[in-house]
């Protein structure tokens, strides 16, 4: 799988695009992206259009991003989920923590 990041809105927003399986193997890559991101970024959008699957490690990574982005004050959106991905997010009730669009 690959992770790529596109900054937008004058550097106050970032879209992280996930391609393929989102699992433990992407841990390092995913972490580097948000750790190297500018502190000005207020809104993160995770684009799952090309993501085929995510496992519980991926859920853990999303929580790490949330923590990094300010915990309860963070603004993280997850969009374009396929049915499998949406199902996993629903089962884990991550809708309570992330805006799933």
């Amino acid at each position: 799988m690959t992770v790529s990041a596109i900054p937008s809105d004058n550097g106050t927003a970032m879209t992280i695009k996930i391609t393929g399986r989102f699992d433990f193997s992407s841990h390092q890559e995913f972490r580097q992206i948000y750790e190297n991101a500018s502190p000005d970024i207020k809104v993160y959008t995770i684009d799952m259009a090309e993501a085929t699957y995510l496992d519980s490690s991926a859920l853990g990574m999303l929580l790490l991003l949330r923590d990094h982005a300010g915990g309860d004050n963070s603004d993280i959106r997850i969009k374009n989920c396929n049915e499998d991905v949406r199902k996993i997010l629903t089962i884990s009730n991550f809708g309570q923590l992330f805006r799933i669009e």
């Binding site: 859920l59 923590d67 884990s92 009730n93 309570q96």
Partner: protein
């Protein structure tokens, strides 16, 4: 210079062996010689060389066959074999590698290259040995960790007849846990959990989880209280991103009800024994260890269960298990098993064999975690016995205490585990813990539900009523702004035993306990007054006082059976 190695030179040509021996010895290594393949295998077994230089064509047994035999015998150890050959064609060279060779070298020998190869393989051997050592160490550590975990998690009451579960012996390292324990009031809590990740990080959280689960359940805490404590402990100790998906079920064998909480695992299934109907209970909570304690709200749903009805809990392992074509088992296949079954009692085995058949023989993952529990009569399952021997002889014999709970406390605090804990200090009462808890729960809940909240127990006579009753109870409890319940408990020594007196008063206007303690529904089953039999069995004196808002019970021990 690197550590000297033992190098086996297998070549039928004596001049070749002489040259090779000279090269190898010059590097400070020891040489063992063999003149054909058979000898090479024998020398390998007798002297366990570190590296083998093997001629491809030899009489008696050629190098390819010898290589195959040696690799087979070497098992997990790395024994590099370098083929010595003047063969040039790709096919022959490929055959050398296929037979287990790690490299080849053409004649005439180039000393520089041969030395470099020996050095390279020596490094590789070292790395392999380190890897093996790490692996061995890791297995050892896992074994120790597992022993510790098994001591903490023991088997609870998973061995009861109404529970079946499937859990690999090393499941704790896949992050999977199944726990079950009886409550002092005769009920049971069942938990299936699935931590994120694998290995030790996944196993670490399971220990405090199990400890909290067993400790609190056997002391009579409610499912919500157990879940809250597990959540806040895991939140505190686990790093962000590590959490526990799970489902918990509280079975009440008196009321024939189940309280079910699902947080992050697939739907829990409830199967009706009589009709085969399937009720799916979806996940409504975030997993344990994600939210801060004040944000965590373990919403559970209540369900009636007839005798024979079953609940099924699983991690995503079953649904996500793959067949050799890479297809997932999926929920549809699982649901089909439930639709097609003739006997829900066979479902547990049906599921395991269907998953086995699907993923193919021998491919069974270790993370097929599954658990089912059946509703039974309390008489069939009996009351739990807890090992409460704390070693104190006698304990406090002559004492009394009062505890008054005001409205704010009544909303959020269950005093029963605390009170039971104190009672259990009296050694003579320990054997009665289950009954005492039920008695306390019966009297306290009557005072709260009927005395303070003024709920009508008639509501509880059917399924809708039961749900309505609890909804109304929650609403009234929320709105409560005035009310108190006081518990007065006294124990004194009498002869060789003792006498325990309980007095529970509430600030309500009083209620008709006659109906509370003898409520019998149309099937002749006690619905709300399950305590009446027990009250008469256990209590030597029992009466209501004042305007019906005070009850007094006296229990003498030892009991004459």
């Amino acid at each position: 210079m690197a550590e000297p190695l033992k190098i086996l030179v297998a070549d039928d040509n004596e001049t070749d062996r002489m040259i090779l021996r000279a090269i190898v010895q010059q590097e400070g290594h020891r040489v063992i010689e063999a003149a054909n393949g058979r000898e090479a295998v024998e020398r390998f077994l007798a002297d366990s060389p570190d590296i083998i230089l093997m001629d491809a064509l030899m009489p008696v047994m050629d190098g390819l066959q010898a290589s195959r035999e040696i690799k087979e015998r070497a098992g997990g150890d790395l024994v590099p074999i370098i083929f010595l050959t003047s063969l040039q064609d790709a096919q022959s060279l490929a055959e050398c590698l296929d037979s287990g060779g790690d490299d080849f070298m053409s004649k005439p020998y180039n000393r520089v290259i041969l030395k470099a190869k020996i050095k390279a393989f020596s490094r590789m051997r070292l790395m392999h040995a380190q890897l093996q050592e790490h692996n061995r160490q890791m297995l050892l550590e896992q074994q120790v960790a597992k022993t510790v975990f098994d001591n903490v998690a023991h088997s609870g009451c998973l061995n009861l007849d109404n529970i079946r579960h499937s859990l690999s012996p090393l499941a704790v390292f896949n992050g999977d846990t199944v726990l079950a324990e009886r409550k002092p009031d005769g009920g049971m809590l069942l938990f299936l959990g699935d931590f994120t990740g694998h290995g030790l990080p996944a196993a670490i959280g399971a220990m405090p989880l199990a400890e909290i689960f067993y400790g609190m359940t056997s002391k009579g805490f409610s499912m919500e209280e157990v879940l809250r404590e597990i959540n806040s402990r895991l939140r505190k100790i686990l790093p962000v991103g590590v959490f526990c998906c799970g489902a918990m079920v509280e079975l009440n064998f008196y009321d024939k009800t189940a309280r079910i909480w699902v947080g992050g695992v697939p739907d829990v299934y409830l199967v009706r024994h009589r009709t085969g109907d399937l009720v799916k209970i979806p996940s409504t909570s975030l997993p344990l260890g994600v939210l801060d304690p004040h944000e965590f709200d373990p919403t559970a749903s209540d369900h009636n269960m007839d005798v024979g009805d079953r609940v099924f809990l699983w991690s995503d392992g079953i649904i996500e298990s793959h067949n050799p074509m890479g297809e997932m088992f999926g929920e549809a296949r699982l649901e089909q098993l439930f639709e097609e079954t003739d006997n829900p009692d066979d479902l547990f085995d049906d599921i395991l064999s269907a998953v086995d058949a699907f993923i193919g023989k021998g491919n069974r993952d270790d993370d097929i975690t599954l658990c089912t529990a059946k509703m039974v009569h309390i008489d069939d399952i009996g009351m739990p016995t807890f090992d409460t021997s704390k070693g104190t002889v006698g304990g406090p014999m002559d004492w009394e205490m009062s505890l008054e709970l005001r409205d704010q406390s009544l909303k959020a605090f269950n005093p029963l585990p605390l009170v039971l804990n104190i009672l259990m200090e009296v050694e003579g009462l320990r054997g009665l813990s289950g009954q005492l808890y039920t008695l306390l729960a019966e009297l306290f809940n009557n005072a709260l539900d009927h005395g303070i909240l003024r709920l009508d127990s008639q509501l509880k006579t059917n399924a809708q009523g039961f749900a309505a009753y609890y909804l109304e109870r929650e609403r009234r409890l929320n709105d409560l702004d005035d009310g108190r319940i006081s518990l007065h408990i006294r124990h004194r020594p009498v002869g060789k035993g003792g006498e325990l007196s309980l007095r529970i008063s509430d600030s309500g206007p009083g209620f008709d306990h006659q109906r509370m303690v003898s409520g019998i529904d149309e099937n002749g089953e006690s619905y709300s007054g399950r305590g009446i039999t027990l009250v008469h069995q256990l209590c030597d004196r029992f009466e209501y006082r004042d305007r019906g808002n005070t009850v007094e019970a006296t229990v003498c021990w030892p009991k004459q059976n």
